[in-house]
C-alpha cells in the first residue's frame, strides 16, 4: 500500500526528520489560507499515488496567496495518469542548494534492508543508477542492530557531505530507517533531501510503500489508505481478498495463483489475444470469492470473453465449480466463458459444471485459443 507524499512526510516528522511547514488542502480557498499562514510564497503539490507529477504540471510555485489559490484551482482540476487530483499539499517554498536522494528498501538477494543515498537526488534514482552508478552509495543494515551511526557517517563521507552536516544527516538517516522498520515498509525514501541555502537539511518530498501483509499490526497506518485513489473494481477485489489489475484487452481472466495468472496472460498474448485484466483468486478460494471475481470481470465493458483457469491445490475444484454456478445466478450471461479445471477434486468440479451444461477445456493452450476465438466472435456481433 502506497502512502501519499503528505502522509509519508507526517511519518517522517514523527521520527524527527525535518520537513517543510505546510498542510493539505481539498479546495483552492483552503490552499490560499495555508499560503497566507506560510507568508505568501508556497508550493502547490498534487497528491496522487502515481509518479511523474512534476512533468504533468502537478507541482507549482506560487508567489502569493492569490496565486496559490489560482494554481490550486488548476491542479485540483487535473488528472495525472488518469487519476483525478483531489488534494494538494501546500508547503513552504525552500531555497534549495543541493538535492540528495536517501531511501531504504529490502535487498532481496542479501535478505536485509539496504539504505541508498546519492548526491544526485531530485531526479529518478534509477536513471542515476544506470548512468552513473558510482554516484550511488549504499549500506546494508542489520535489521536487529538498526542503522548504526558509523553507517550513516560512511554514507555522508562517501557522498562528500560537508562535515558540519554529518550529525544531522545521521539523525535523519536513523529516523528514516526507524520509519521503515516501525511501519513495516517495503520502501521509505526522501527525494529530495535538500541542503538549503542556509545549510539546513530538509525532507522536501517523500514516499512510503507499506507491506500489505503486515498492515494487520498497524491499524493506524491501514486507516491511511486512500480509497479514492483506487479504481472501484480494485477496491471491490481487495474487499474479497482478490488480486485484480485492470488492463486494456478484451479477454477477462480469472486464475488461481499469481504465477499461473501471469502465464495464462502470456499464453493469451502469444496466441494473439489481449487480456482484459490480471485476476488471482488466490489459494483456498471459496465459492463466494469466485463469485465476486466473476462479478468484477463482468463489470468491465471491454470484456468479450472470459477464460477461467483453475488448477486445484489448496483451491478445490468442486468449490470453484459451485462458485461459478453461484456467480452466474442473476448476472448477464452474454459473455462466453471458457473453463479449465484441473487438480484437487477435479472430478467433482467437472461434474458440477457438466450438470449445469458448462463444458471444460483440457489444456491451457486450448482454453486460451477458445477464449480468443469467442472474443472475436463477440467482437463481430
Amino acid at each position: 500500500m502506497k502512502l501519499h507524499e503528505y502522509q509519508s512526510k507526517q511519518l517522517f516528522a514523527q521520527h524527527g526528520i525535518p520537513i517543510p511547514r505546510g498542510r493539505v488542502a481539498m479546495t483552492a480557498s483552503e490552499a490560499r489560507t495555508i499560503a497566507e499562514e506560510l507568508g505568501g510564497r508556497a508550493v502547490i503539490k498534487a497528491q496522487v499515488l502515481v509518479g511523474g507529477r512534476g512533468k504533468a504540471g502537478g507541482i507549482r510555485l506560487a508567489g502569493s496567496p492569490e496565486e496559490a489559490e489560482e494554481l490550486a484551482t488548476q491542479v485540483l482540476g487535473m488528472r495525472i495518469k488518469e487519476l483525478p487530483v483531489r488534494k494538494v499539499l501546500v508547503d513552504e517554498a525552500a531555497e534549495v542548494q543541493t538535492e540528495i536522494y536517501l531511501g531504504v528498501t529490502n535487498d532481496r538477494a542479501a535478505r536485509v534492508p539496504v539504505m541508498i543515498a546519492s548526491v544526485q537526488g531530485g531526479i529518478e534514482i534509477e536513471e542515476v543508477a544506470r548512468k552513473d552508478p558510482e554516484r550511488i552509495v549504499r549500506v546494508w543494515v542489520d535489521p536487529f542492530l538498526g542503522l548504526r551511526e558509523y553507517q550513516a557517517r560512511n554514507l555522508a563521507t562517501s557522498m562528500e557531505l560537508p562535515r558540519q552536516l554529518w550529525s544531522e544527516f545521521a539523525r535523519i538517516a536513523s529516523g528514516l530507517f526507524k520509519t521503515f522498520l516501525d511501519a513495516d515498509a517495503t520502501l521509505a525514501e526522501i527525494n529530495p533531501l535538500v541542503i538549503t541555502r542556509t545549510g539546513q537539511l530538509l525532507a522536501l518530498d517523500g514516499k512510503i510503500v507499506l507491506d500489505d501483509n503486515a498492515l494487520y499490526r498497524h491499524p493506524g497506518l491501514a486507516d491511511l489508505r486512500d480509497v479514492d485513489e483506487e479504481a472501484a473494481s480494485e477496491r471491490e477485489a481487495r474487499k474479497y481478498g482478490l488480486s485484480y489489475v485492470k488492463l486494456n484487452g478484451d479477454i477477462g481472466c480469472m486464475v488461481n495463483g499469481a504465477g499461473l495468472a501471469m502465464a495464462t496472460m502470456d499464453v493469451i498474448k502469444s496466441l494473439g489475444g489481449e487480456p482484459a485484466n490480471f485476476l488471482d483468486v488466490g489459494g483456498g478460494a471459496a465459492a463466494e470469492k469466485v463469485a465476486a471475481a466473476l462479478q468484477i470481470i463482468l463489470a468491465d465493458e471491454n470484456v468479450r470473453s472470459i477464460l477461467l483457469n483453475i488448477f486445484g491445490g489448496i483451491t478445490r475444484c468442486d468449490e470453484v465449480a459451485r462458485g461459478i454456478l453461484m456467480a452466474l445466478q442473476g448476472v448477464r450471461r452474454e459473455v462466453p466463458m471458457v473453463i479449465r479445471l484441473v487438480g484437487t477434486n477435479e472430478e467433482e468440479g467437472r461434474k458440477i459444471l457438466a450438470d449445469a451444461d458448462l463444458p471444460t477445456a483440457a489444456s491451457l493452450n486450448e482454453a486460451a485459443r477458445l477464449a480468443i476465438a469467442a472474443s472475436q466472435v463477440e467482437a463481430v456481433r
Partner: protein, 287 residues
C-alpha cells in the same frame, strides 16, 4: 530417486487441526506420506484422521514421541513465524511452510534464525514438495505426476501444477517437484535446489519455473552456466505483465528495471537453458 523427501520421510504437521491442515493431511496420508504427528497447542492428546495421527501441544513433545524428520506448517500467518522457529528449535532439519501472507521483516528474521540453527526451509507461501510415488509434503495434487528422471523447481504454485500436468501428459516422470514460493524472502532458493538436483544421481534434467521480480533466476543462470552438467529447461511467467503493476505475489513486482522477464530469459538462454514460450511447451524441450 528424489531429493529432500522420500518414503522414509517422517512428517509432522503443524496446525493439523485447522481447516486446510486437516484437509491436506488427509490427502498426504492417502498419497502414502508417513504422517507421524500433528501439533496444535491446546489439542495435545487428541487423535485425528480416523485415529491414525496423534496431536501434541508442542513440537518438542511431538519430536520426543515420534522422531519426525520433516515438518509442514498450515498455521495462519500471524502464528506462522512462531511455528517455524519452534520447529527449528526442536532440531527438525527440514521445514515446509505453506502459509501465505507473512510480513517481509518477519521472514528476514526467521531466515536469519534458521540459517544459524541449520534448518532448511521450503517456502513460505509455497505448495511444498512431491516425490511421485513416495511422498507428498504440502498441497501439490498427487495425481498429476509420475515417478521419473525430471526434477522440477518453481517459484509459483498453480503454475507448477500446470507444468507437472503437461509433463505427465507427455509421459515424463518426475524425481522431485519443489515449489519454493514467490515471496521476496524465502528459505530455499533456485540455486540451492539446482545444487541438490545436480548431485542427485536419479535426476537427469531439470525444469525451472520462474517469474518476474527479484534476481533469483539470474543467479540460477550463473550456476547453470558455471557448474551444472544436467540440461535445464525453463519457463518465466510475466513476460507480458506491464511494468510497475503489482501482480499478486509480493515477489512479482518489477523493481526499478531489474526483475524483468526479458532479463531473466536472456540470462538463462546465455547459460544454455531452453526457455519455453508457454508452460505446455516445456516437455518437448526436454531432451
Amino acid at each position: 530417486m528424489s531429493i529432500l523427501i522420500n518414503k522414509d520421510t517422517r512428517l509432522l504437521v503443524q496446525g493439523i487441526t485447522g481447516r486446510e491442515g486437516i484437509f491436506h493431511s488427509a490427502q498426504m496420508l492417502d498419497y502414502g506420506t508417513k504422517i507421524v504427528a500433528g501439533v496444535t497447542p491446546g489439542k495435545g492428546g487428541d487423535w485425528v484422521l480416523e485415529g491414525k495421527v496423534p496431536v501434541f501441544d508442542t513440537v518438542d513433545q511431538a519430536m520426543a514421541a515420534t522422531g519426525a524428520n520433516c515438518s509442514v506448517s498450515f498455521v495462519p500467518a500471524r502464528f506462522a513465524v512462531d511455528a517455524m522457529l519452534e520447529a527449528a528449535d526442536a532440531q527438525l532439519p527440514l521445514l515446509v511452510c505453506i502459509t501465505e501472507g507473512i510480513p517481509i521483516q518477519d521472514m528476514i528474521m526467521v531466515r536469519e534464525y534458521l540459517d544459524r540453527a541449520g534448518a532448511r526451509l521450503i517456502g513460505p507461501n509455497c505448495p511444498g514438495l512431491l516425490t511421485p510415488g513416495e511422498c507428498k509434503v504440502g498441497i501439490i495434487p498427487g495425481h498429476i505426476a509420475e515417478p521419473g528422471p525430471v526434477g522440477v523447481v518453481s517459484r509459483s504454485g498453480t503454475l507448477t501444477y500446470e507444468v507437472l500436468y503437461a509433463l505427465q501428459r507427455n509421459g515424463r516422470g518426475v524425481s522431485t517437484c519443489i515449489g519454493i514460493g514467490g515471496d521476496p524472502v524465502i528459505g530455499t532458493t533456485f540455486l540451492d535446489v539446482l545444487e541438490l538436483f545436480e548431485a542427485d544421481p536419479h535426476t537427469e534434467s531439470v525444469v525451472l519455473i520462474g517469474e518476474i521480480g527479484g534476481t533469483d533466476e539470474e543467479r540460477a543462470a550463473e550456476f547453470i552456466g558455471d557448474q551444472m552438467t544436467k540440461p535445464v529447461v525453463s519457463f518465466i511467467a510475466g513476460q507480458t505483465a506491464p511494468p510497475g503493476k503489482r501482480m499478486g505475489h509480493a515477489g512479482a513486482i518489477i523493481e526499478g528495471g531489474s526483475g524483468l522477464a526479458s532479463d531473466k530469459i536472456a540470462a538463462l538462454e546465455s547459460a544454455g537453458v531452453s526457455v519455453a514460450t508457454t508452460p505446455e511447451a516445456i516437455p518437448e524441450l526436454l531432451t
